[in-house]
Structures are given as structure tokens and as C-alpha cells.
């Protein structure tokens, strides 16, 4: 029985060596090819000094080779650390240094963008370039040993290296927005991840004839379902090409042409397909399952989607990165009633997980009352890399169990249980918002603004938006010589694009509440009025 994620690949490669495991617009790999290429990558990583428990970074555009690399990293006993391919170089370098990556899997264009000192300092002992033909092209790597995929293919053994790790080892680290100003790395073990993958595999009956989309980037945990459930089932993972991603009409055609059977994405992608994709023009009979997660899916768009494509089953999946999915809800016909305005529920706990709603004193609230959602499950993350204090704030002793030690994950999400037993999402307890499924700590944006020497006060608000979740507005009090363009550039150098404020307003002062805090409500009201 597989107890490590990469064993799912080896098992499927035994059963279906000639089936296509992964495809993109440039190529495809069969299970046998993916198994042997990932083993070769693992041998290279071990030669470069990667030990069980180490971290290996992935900084590259999405491709079939990225999938081979992440399995190769796991086969070497290490955790993969996927970076946003569009991340500002300073942020990428921060993350790679923060968790001490030993080897970086990347491509030339991304490598050139990283600060030079990153390559010469820290724990880095080697590079793997997926897009270069020969090491002759690698002068920018400086003194670091580097290899290309072509070289690894022609030199490394194809047998699976025997690296004895347990399911308690980290499988990957996903960095998310941190409220104190720096991203934090959510550490997910093989056990954490496999608990989710096994649940999803059983619940959605994923089989070898399935053709599954991969829309989410690898640093976003929706990709975990796509990659590992598909590989466990022996199905085909179809990566949405970068060139199609932003174009609804093209994406709609691509889903149909690829005869996808399972689609999983954030609601905002589905909203664009409904709004501009002309779904009615194509044949989606192959599509049997549509999963969405990451943010609230406004009911009016759900209705239009289901009216256009009535055939698939639809599920709302809910869960923070720290638990992957923890509740799920299958859409029912009555949810589409035209009188309904509230969003679909987040549903009930996944099998093998328990959720409870507690008040501030950690006592269960009566059914129907609002409270914070806590999760008890083997999916609960090991915590945040190098941040024991932050981890202890959210992974807390289970107050409902006094007989042996167990923990709950504190989601920060306020929910309410409906008479049906299902849970309804109500809102956040803190200043975290979602935009296109991405978690954004407004405090991290504010901290970035404050980091500029000329900024004296800063506040960021999120204006709710039906189609993308939230639009960010920054209010700044700054020294008079600070140009907007300079502050914008400063932010762009430090924040991922999805966290860039859409507008920045310079003011002589910020409104304050009676106790001296920035009056966020006044700013929010003002932003609606304009």
C-alpha cells in the first residue's frame, strides 16, 4: 500500500506503463516515461547532496517536466517547494532562502531574474534546468554545479532510488500570504496529503479513463488533487497551456477538445467561462465532474453554469491550505431555485475528518449559531516552516478531548451549521481576503507599504467583487516627495501580482476610530461611494 505520494506513481506505472500520465501543449509523458524520468531526477538530486528531509525549489512555468521534477524531488526523500512563476525575484529568493532549498529546478529565464547573491549564498548546492539543451548555455549559473534535463536523461539510472522515509516526512511546502509581512510556508507531510488524496479518489471515483484538468498553479493546493488523484487512478493529467489560460473562448474550446472528464478550479475561472466562454458552442458530454474551491461562488453564476452544462456533477470543496479540503458539498437542484441569493453551503466534513464550531472560549456553539470552524484530521499541516509561534496559534490542543493528545486546526473562518447539518460560510475573523482563490493578508500588503521609508501611514481594504472575490485599494500617507510610481514599483518588487493594490490613494491623514485605530469601515464606506 502506498504511504508516500510518489509511490502512487510507481504503482500506476506498473499497472498502466503505456497510458499517458501527463500532457501539455508541447508534449506528453506515459506512466513508464514519467516513472523513469522522475527516478533519474531523484538520482541527480541525490548526487547533488539532497538528503531525506531536504527542500528542493521549483521555479518554472508549468510543464510536463515540472510534474516529473516534483515526483523526482519526492523520490529523493525531499519536499518540493513550488514558487509562483510570476513571483517578484526578491520574494522568490526570500522563500528559497527561508526554507533553505538545496537544489533549484528552474529554467533560464527564471534563473536570470533571481538576485545573483542568492545563487552564491545559502544552502544551494545545485541547479537543474529543464529548458536548456546543454550545460554550455549555463554560464549564468556561476560556480554552482548545474545539469540540464537532457544530461540527466542520458546519464542517470532509471530505477527508482530506495530512499527510506516515512509518511511523517514533508511532501511539499506551499507558501501563502503572511499577516506580519512575509510569506509563510505551510508544511504538508505525505500523510497529510495522502489522507486528502485517498478521500478525494474514493469520493469522486477517479478512474484510469479520467482526463483531469490542471488549471491551478503548482504553488496553489488545488493542484494537489489534480496531480496526485489523477496519478493514483492511472488517468491523464492535462495541463492548461499558459497561452490559453487567460482567454475564456479558447479555454472553453480546449476543455471540449481535450474531452476532459474532471475540471477543478477556482470559481473565478468558471465565471469567466460562463461570462465570455460561449460554452453552449461546444460538446462537453465527456465532462462528468466539476469541482470548485478557494472562494465563494456567487449563486447567479452557479445557476448559469449549470443551466448551460446540466450534465456534470458539481461540488463545492472548502478548506484552507493547512488542511487541504475539509468539507464538501454536492450541488442539489433546489440550490438553483431562482429565489435563492445566498451562496451554496460548504457542506459537511469529509470522511475521516471532523469539524467543530467553537466560540472564543473554545466551547462548542449551539447548532445554528455562528462560531469559528476547527478541523481535526490527519490532513492538518505540520505547521509553518520555521515559525513555531505562528504554528502554535493555529494548531491547538483539542479542548474536547482530555484522554489523549490531539490537535485541532483553527481556520479563522466563521461558519454556521444549517438545520440540514451542513455548514454555511459566513466570513473571516481576521483581515484575510480571497481574490481569485488566492489568500491575501491585507496586513502583509500594509507591512510592505510601511517598509518604504517615505510611507508614514498605510491601510489596505478589500472591496468585494462578484467576479474575482475582492479588489484591493491602498490608502497611504507619505512624505510629499514620494511619487506614486516609486511606491508602486516598490510594491511590485515585493508582492506577487495578485496582492498588488489596484489603486493607491494618497491622503494627508487616515480616518481614525475613537480608540485611535485606522477606521477601516470609514475607508470601506468611502470606497463604495466613489
Amino acid at each position: 500500500m502506498a504511504f508516500l505520494l510518489h509511490q502512487l506513481l510507481s504503482e500506476s506505472a506498473d499497472r498502466h506503463p503505456d497510458r499517458v500520465a501527463v500532457e501539455d501543449d508541447r508534449g506528453r509523458l506515459t506512466y513508464a516515461e514519467l516513472e523513469s524520468l522522475s527516478s533519474q531526477i531523484a538520482h541527480y538530486l541525490r548526487n547533488r547532496g539532497v538528503e531525506p528531509g531536504d527542500r528542493v525549489g521549483l521555479f518554472l512555468r508549468k510543464s510536463i517536466y515540472g510534474v516529473a521534477a516534483l515526483f523526482g524531488i519526492q523520490k529523493a526523500g525531499a519536499a518540493y517547494v513550488p514558487l509562483d512563476p510570476q513571483a517578484p525575484p526578491l520574494r522568490a529568493a526570500y522563500i528559497l532562502q527561508n526554507c533553505g532549498v538545496r537544489v533549484l529546478v528552474t529554467e533560464q529565464e527564471k534563473l536570470q531574474r533571481l538576485p545573483a547573491e542568492f545563487l552564491t549564498q545559502g544552502a544551494l548546492t545545485g541547479l537543474l534546468l529543464v529548458d536548456s539543451e546543454a550545460a554550455a548555455n549555463l554560464e549564468m549559473a556561476g560556480t554552482l554545479p548545474a545539469a540540464t534535463l537532457a544530461e540527466i536523461r542520458s546519464s542517470q539510472p532509471i530505477r527508482h532510488p530506495a530512499v527510506p522515509i516515512t509518511d511523517d516526512y514533508l511532501a511539499y511546502i506551499l507558501y501563502t500570504s503572511g499577516s506580519t509581512g512575509e510569506p509563510k510556508g505551510v508544511m504538508i507531510s505525505h500523510l497529510n496529503s495522502l489522507t486528502f488524496v485517498n478521500w478525494a479518489y474514493d469520493t469522486f471515483h477517479v478512474v484510469s479513463s479520467d482526463r483531469v484538468s490542471n488549471h491551478a498553479p503548482f504553488h496553489f493546493d488545488l493542484s494537489v488533487f489534480d496531480i496526485f488523484c489523477t496519478i493514483k487512478a492511472g488517468g491523464t493529467l492535462s495541463l492548461v497551456p499558459d497561452l490559453i489560460h487567460p482567454f475564456p473562448v479558447e479555454l472553453a474550446r480546449w476543455i471540449s477538445e481535450k474531452r476532459l472528464t474532471i475540471w477543478y478550479s477556482v470559481p473565478s475561472a468558471l465565471i469567466q467561462l460562463v461570462e465570455r466562454g460561449h460554452l453552449e458552442r461546444h460538446d462537453y458530454r465527456a465532462l462528468r465532474l466539476v469541482l470548485f474551491a478557494g472562494e465563494v461562488f456567487p449563486i447567479k453564476y452557479v445557476r448559469r453554469l449549470v443551466e448551460t452544462l446540466p450534465h456534470p456533477e458539481y461540488y463545492n470543496l472548502y478548506g484552507p491550505t493547512e488542511t487541504n479540503v475539509c468539507t464538501y458539498y454536492k450541488l442539489k437542484p433546489e440550490d438553483l431555485n431562482s429565489a435563492r441569493t445566498e451562496p451554496v453551503p460548504i457542506g459537511v466534513a469529509c470522511e475521516n475528518q471532523e469539524v467543530v464550531v467553537l466560540n472564543e472560549r473554545l466551547e462548542p456553539v449551539p447548532k445554528g449559531n455562528e462560531g469559528e470552524l476547527y478541523v481535526r484530521s490527519a490532513t492538518v499541516a505540520k505547521g509553518y516552516w520555521g515559525r513555531l509561534d505562528d504554528t502554535a496559534k493555529v494548531v491547538v490542543p483539542n479542548p474536547l478531548n482530555r484522554h489523549f493528545s490531539s490537535v485541532l486546526y483553527r481556520t479563522g473562518d466563521i461558519v454556521r451549521q444549517l438545520p440540514s447539518g451542513e455548514y454555511q460560510y459566513v466570513g473571516r475573523k481576521d483581515k484575510m481576503v480571497k481574490s481569485r482563490g488566492y489568500r491575501i493578508e491585507l496586513g502583509e500588503i500594509e507591512a510592505t507599504l510601511y517598509a518604504h521609508p517615505a510611507v508614514r501611514e498605510a491601510a489596505v481594504i478589500a472591496v468585494p467583487d462578484d467576479q474575482v472575490g475582492a479588489r484591493l485599494k491602498a490608502y497611504v500617507v507619505a512624505d510629499s516627495n514620494l511619487a506614486r510610481s516609486e511606491l508602486e514599483k516598490f510594491c511590485r518588487d515585493h508582492l506577487p501580482r495578485y496582492m498588488m493594490p489596484e489603486s493607491m490613494e494618497f491622503r494627508s491623514s487616515l480616518p481614525r476610530t475613537s480608540n485611535g485605530k485606522v477606521d477601516i469601515h470609514a475607508l470601506e464606506k468611502g470606497s463604495v461611494a466613489t
Binding site: 487567460p246 465570455r276 514599483k489
Partner: protein
């Protein structure tokens, strides 16, 4: 809105992309820079660009025209706008 010459259209679109998408960083952008391949335009910034173009040039971009060949670089965007303007003139 009067009809702009193609050089003007290009300048307007370029200025928008530099200020709103690249936050003022003009170093990388010329008429043939690959906007999608290089990740300069993603789904969100593309939709905002289209909303801007529709308002600025008083045009309505058809969903069928929101495809890579019309948005992959500044020249392609300029040609798309010019073709809309020519249609509205005739």
C-alpha cells in the same frame, strides 16, 4: 471619441500597460514584446485591459476576439482596435 491614428493607439495602450499592469516599469516593453508568453498579461489584467480599451475607444470587444492572436503584443492590440474603429466608421 475621435479616431486615433495607429501610433496614438499604440501609445495609449502602451501607457496603460506600463502604468496599470507593470506599475511604471517600462524597461521591458516594446511593440513586439510577448505579453502572454512572458506572463505580463494574466487573466485578471487582460480583462481589465479590455474594459479599459472598450471605454477609451468606445468599442465593444467581442468574446471571439479575446484570443491570443489579438492580444499577444502591443501591435496586435493596436490592429484589433483599428479594425473595430474602421468597422464603426463604415
Amino acid at each position: 471619441m475621435s479616431m486615433e491614428a495607429s501610433a496614438d493607439i499604440q501609445a495609449i495602450v502602451k501607457e496603460y500597460v506600463i502604468s496599470e499592469v507593470l506599475s511604471g516599469d517600462e524597461g521591458v516593453l516594446d511593440v513586439s514584446t510577448e505579453l502572454i508568453e512572458q506572463g505580463i498579461l494574466d487573466s485578471m489584467s487582460l480583462l481589465r485591459l479590455i474594459a479599459f480599451l472598450e471605454e477609451r475607444f468606445s468599442i465593444q470587444v467581442a468574446d471571439e476576439d479575446i484570443v491570443p492572436r489579438h492580444f499577444h503584443n502591443l501591435r496586435a492590440i493596436e490592429e484589433l482596435i483599428a479594425s473595430y474603429q474602421a468597422r464603426s466608421r463604415s
